[in-house]
C-alpha cells in the first residue's frame, strides 16, 4: 500500500518539477508541446489507474500509510500520513479521473501558448496538492494541500499575468481565501488545545484520534460549535459561499481548463470534503449545521438569480458553480454529507463538461475574432498604426459596447451547426444539471432536496425553509442553464459577417474528454439511486450506517414511500417546467427574451445583474477604508517615522565612522603602541588584582 500511495502522489509532483525546471532552464524544451502535455497527462492518468486498482480491491477497512514525521514539538507530533478509505478513494477518483481528462483537453486548448510548459507544471502541482488534501490523515497535512491548491489556483488565475485584470483577479482569490484559511488555522489550534487537555501522548490532529468516539465525547459543546463554525468559515473561503464567494466569478480570468478543473470540479469542493471528513464532529454541533444549511441555501439562490442575468458564458457557469456548491452545503447542513459528496461527484462530471464545452466554444470564437480582425470588421488588440487622414475604419455593429468578446453569448448563437459534438455534449450536461431524469443531476439534486425534507420531517423546522429555497433554486437552475445553451448553440448566428466567417469544431484531444464527461453526466446518477428506486450505492459505500467514514443523523420518522414518489415526480416535472419555460423564451425569441425578462422583473433584474452589489459593498466597507487608512495614516508614519529611524541610524553610524576612521593612520608603529599599551594594562591587572 505504501508503494501504491507513492505511485498516486509522486508522479504529478515529479512531472511538475521536471516540466517546470526544464521549461525554466532549457528554453528549447518549451516547444515540445506534445511531450510536455503528454507527460503531464500521464502523470495524472497513472494515479487514476492506481486508484482504480485500490478501489476495486477495497474491503471497507481504512488503511493508514505513514511515511515520516513532519514535525515534532512538545505534545505535537505530525506525521506525513495518508488515509485510504471510502471517502478519500472516491475523491481521489474524481480528482485524478476528471483531472486526467482536463489535462488531455488542455493539450489542444493551450496549443501555441508561450506559457505552455508553465501551465502544465502548475496544473500538475495542483493535482499533487489536491491529492494531499483528500488523502491526508491529519489536519496539518490536509492544510498543506489546502494551501497548495490555493497557491496553484492563484498562479493559474493569474496565468496570463500581463493583463492587469487577471492579476487583480488572482490577488482577489488569494486574499479572500486567506480569511477562510485563518479560520481553519484557528479551528486547528482550538482542537489541539482542547484534545491535548485530556489526551495523553503525542497528538498530531490525526483523524483516527480526532473522530474517535472517546474524543468526540470528551469535547465540550462550546468547543464543538466553535470548531465546526470555524471550519465552515474556512470552507466558505475555499468553496465560495456567502460571504466569501466573490472571488470565484473573477477567477474565470484563468484559462478555461483551469476553471473546469480547479474552480468547478475539484478545489472548490474541498470545503465540502472537509465537512464530510469531519462529519461526526459537525453532527454534534446542531447550531453550526443550521448556519451551514442556511448559508448554503442563500448562496444557492443568490448565485442562481445572478446567473440568469449574465451574458459572459463563463460567468454564467461560475455563478452556477457557486449555486451548486450552495446546494452541497445545504445538504451538509441537513446532515446528508454523503449526498453532498454524491453531488460533488455528479457536479464534477457535468460542470467540467460544461466548462470544457464553453472552452471549446471560446476557442472557436477566438478564431472567428481573428478572422474578423483580419477582415477589419472588429478592432484588433494591438494598437496598429493607421493613417490619420484616412477615414476611420467601419466596424460591424455589435449587440453590446466595447470590442468583440469571444466569451459573450450575445455574439454567439447557432453554433450547433458548426460544432456538433460540443453542442451535443454541452446539451447533455445542461439537462443533467437542470435535473431532468434519468441524468446525473436529477438524482443528486433530488436526493439533497429529499434529505432536507426528511430532516425537516424529523423535527428540524429550518430544514423545511432551506428545502423551499432549494426547490426555487432548482427551477432557476433549469432556466439559466437552458438559456445559456440556447443562446450559444441555437437560434441565428449573431457575430458579424456570419455568412462568410465560420467557426470550427475542436480537435480530438478536446472533444474526447467532452464525450467522456458527457457519458458520465448521463450515468453518474445511478450511483446514488433514491430509496424508492433501488439501492443507493454511494450510501452503502460512504455511510457510517454501513461502516463508512461519513456520519449521518438517525431518523426516527421515515417519509412514506408514496410521499417520496410524489416528491421525486414533482422534482422531475418542476425541472422540466423550467426547461420548457426557457425554451419558450430564449428558444423562440433569442436575445429579446432578456429584454422582456428585464421588463417583467423590474428593479429586481437590476439587483441580479449587478450581482447584489456585493463587490461594491465590500469595496466600500472593507477595501476602501483599509486603502485610505493606509494612505492617510500608515504611509506618512512609514515614510517619516519608520524610514526616518532607519535612515537616521544609518546616518549616525556613518558620522561616527567618519570620525573614527581617523584613528586608522596606517602607520604600523601607532598600532604597535596601542598593543604595548594593552600589554601594560594587562600586566597591571595581573599585579594589582
Amino acid at each position: 500500500m505504501e508503494l501504491l500511495v507513492q505511485l498516486i502522489l509522486l508522479p504529478p509532483l515529479l512531472v511538475a518539477a521536471f516540466n517546470g525546471m526544464m521549461g525554466l532552464f532549457a528554453p528549447g524544451y518549451r516547444t515540445n508541446e506534445w511531450l510536455i502535455g503528454g507527460l503531464a497527462t500521464a502523470a495524472v492518468a497513472l494515479p487514476f489507474v492506481v486508484t482504480v486498482s485500490i478501489f476495486l480491491g477495497f474491503h471497507h477497512e481504512p488503511e493508514i500509510v505513514r511515511y515520516f514525521t513532519w514535525m515534532a514539538a512538545g505534545d505535537l507530533t505530525v506525521d506525513f500520513a495518508y488515509r485510504i478509505d471510502q471517502l478519500s478513494l472516491i475523491m481521489t477518483l474524481i480528482v485524478t479521473g476528471v483531472g486526467a481528462l482536463i489535462h488531455l483537453y488542455s493539450i489542444g486548448y493551450m496549443k501555441g501558448d508561450p506559457g505552455y510548459w508553465r501551465f502544465f507544471a502548475y496544473l500538475n502541482l495542483f493535482i499533487f496538492a489536491m491529492l494531499n488534501l483528500v488523502l491526508a490523515e491529519n489536519l496539518p497535512v490536509l492544510f498543506l494541500g489546502w494551501e497548495g491548491v490555493g497557491l496553484c489556483s492563484y498562479l493559474l488565475i493569474g496565468f496570463w499575468y500581463t493583463d492587469l485584470k487577471n492579476s487583480a483577479a488572482a490577488n482577489k482569490a488569494f486574499i479572500v481565501n486567506r480569511i477562510g484559511d485563518f479560520a481553519f488555522l484557528l479551528a486547528m489550534f482550538i482542537l489541539f488545545q482542547a484534545v491535548t487537555g485530556f489526551f495523553d501522548g503525542p497528538f498530531g490532529l490525526d483523524f483516527t484520534t480526532l473522530l474517535s468516539a472517546d474524543t468526540l465525547g470528551a469535547l465540550g459543546n462550546g468547543t464543538l460549535l466553535a470548531v465546526a463554525l470555524l471550519f465552515f468559515i474556512g470552507a466558505t473561503g475555499k468553496s465560495a459561499q456567502i460571504p466569501l464567494f466573490v472571488w470565484l466569478p473573477d477567477a474565470m480570468a484563468g484559462p478555461t481548463p483551469v476553471s473546469a478543473l480547479i474552480h468547478a470540479a475539484t478545489m472548490v469542493t474541498s470545503g465540502l470534503y472537509l465537512l464530510a471528513r469531519l462529519s461526526p464532529m459537525i453532527l454534534l454541533a446542531p447550531t453550526a449545521m443550521v448556519v451551514i444549511a442556511i448559508v448554503g441555501a442563500l448562496t444557492a439562490i443568490m448565485a442562481a438569480t445572478i446567473a440568469i442575468t449574465q451574458n459572459d458564458i463563463k460567468r454564467v457557469l461560475a455563478y452556477s458553480t457557486v449555486s451548486q456548491l450552495g446546494y452541497m452545503f445545504l445538504a451538509a447542513g441537513v446532515g446528508a454529507f454523503f449526498v453532498a459528496i454524491f453531488h460533488v461527484m455528479t457536479h464534477a462530471f457535468f460542470k467540467a463538461c460544461l466548462f470544457l464545452g464553453s472552452g471549446s466554444v471560446i476557442h472557436a470564437m477566438h478564431d472567428v475574432e481573428h478572422e474578423l480582425e483580419h477582415k477589419g470588421l472588429v478592432p484588433g488588440h494591438g494598437g496598429e498604426h493607421r493613417d490619420e487622414h484616412a477615414a476611420p475604419p467601419r466596424y460591424a455593429d455589435l449587440p453590446y459596447e466595447g470590442g468583440f468578446d469571444a466569451q459573450d453569448m450575445r455574439t454567439m448563437g447557432g453554433l450547433r451547426k458548426y460544432m456538433p459534438i460540443t453542442a451535443i455534449t454541452f446539451g447533455i450536461a445542461t439537462i443533467a444539471i437542470a435535473g431532468i431524469p434519468p441524468l446525473a443531476g436529477f438524482f443528486s439534486k433530488d436526493e439533497i432536496l429529499f434529505k432536507a425534507f426528511e430532516y425537516g420531517y424529523n423535527g428540524h423546522p429550518y430544514a423545511y425553509f432551506v428545502w423551499i429555497i432549494g426547490i426555487v433554486t432548482a427551477i432557476l437552475t433549469a432556466i439559466y442553464m437552458t438559456r445559456a445553451y440556447l443562446l450559444t448553440f441555437e437560434g441565428r448566428e449573431r457575430w458579424p459577417d456570419a455568412m462568410d466567417t465560420k467557426p470550427h469544431e475542436s480537435p480530438w484531444t478536446m472533444w474526447v474528454p467532452l464525450a467522456v464527461l458527457a457519458f458520465f453526466s448521463v450515468i453518474g446518477g445511478f450511483f446514488g439511486l433514491p430509496a424508492v428506486l433501488g439501492e443507493s450505492w454511494i450510501h452503502h459505500w460512504l455511510g457510517s450506517e454501513y461502516g463508512g467514514p461519513v456520519a449521518e443523523p438517525l431518523h426516527e420518522l421515515h417519509v412514506s414511500h408514496s410521499l417520496e414518489w410524489g416528491l421525486l415526480i414533482f422534482g422531475a416535472l418542476w425541472a422540466a417546467l423550467g426547461v420548457f419555460y426557457a425554451w419558450t423564451q430564449w428558444g423562440r425569441r433569442g436575445l429579446e427574451a432578456d429584454a422582456s425578462l428585464k421588463r417583467r422583473l423590474g428593479f429586481l433584474y437590476g439587483i441580479f445583474s449587478t450581482k447584489y452589489k456585493v463587490d461594491e459593498f465590500y469595496d466600500a466597507t472593507v477595501v476602501k477604508p483599509i486603502v485610505e487608512g493606509s494612505r492617510r495614516g500608515l504611509a506618512p508614519f512609514d515614510q517619516n517615522w519608520v524610514d526616518g529611524t532607519v535612515n537616521g541610524v544609518a546616518t549616525l553610524v556613518r558620522g561616527i565612522a567618519g570620525r573614527l576612521r581617523g584613528i586608522q593612520t596606517g602607520v604600523v608603529q601607532n598600532y604597535a603602541l596601542a598593543v604595548v599599551l594593552g600589554v601594560a594594562v594587562v600586566i597591571a591587572l595581573m599585579i594589582f588584582v
Partner: protein, 101 residues
C-alpha cells in the same frame, strides 16, 4: 651566592623592553626587524633558563623551534622589505601607510 632564576629572567625582561622600544621608536623597517629578533632572543633566554632550573629538556626544544620560525620569518620579512623598497623607494615606516582608513 647562588644564581637565582630571577637574574636571568630580569635580564630577559631588560632585553625584551629594549626590543619593544626599538619597535616603537625606530623608523627604519630593518632596524624594527632587528628589534623583533631581539625580543625573540629575550624570550629564548628565559626559556633556556627555565629549562635549566627545572631540568627539563622541553624548554630547549621550544627554543629550537622558535629559532627555526625566526629564520623563516627573517627570510620572508626581508623579502617583503625588498619588495616594499622597490615600490616606495624607502624603508621608513612613517611613509608607508597603505592601511590608512
Amino acid at each position: 651566592m647562588d644564581l637565582a632564576l630571577n637574574w636571568y629572567l630580569s635580564l630577559s625582561a631588560v632585553l625584551f623592553t629594549i626590543g619593544v622600544l626599538g619597535v616603537l621608536l625606530r623608523r627604519n623597517a630593518i632596524v624594527i626587524f632587528l628589534s623583533i629578533e631581539l625580543m625573540l632572543n629575550a624570550v629564548n633566554l628565559s626559556l633556556v633558563a627555565f629549562s635549566q632550573a627545572f631540568g627539563d629538556v622541553d624548554g630547549q626544544i621550544l627554543v629550537f623551534f622558535v629559532m627555526s620560525v625566526a629564520a623563516a620569518e627573517a627570510a620572508v620579512g626581508l623579502a617583503i622589505v625588498i619588495a616594499l623598497f622597490r615600490n616606495k623607494l624607502t624603508v621608513n615606516v612613517n611613509e608607508i601607510n597603505l592601511f590608512r582608513g
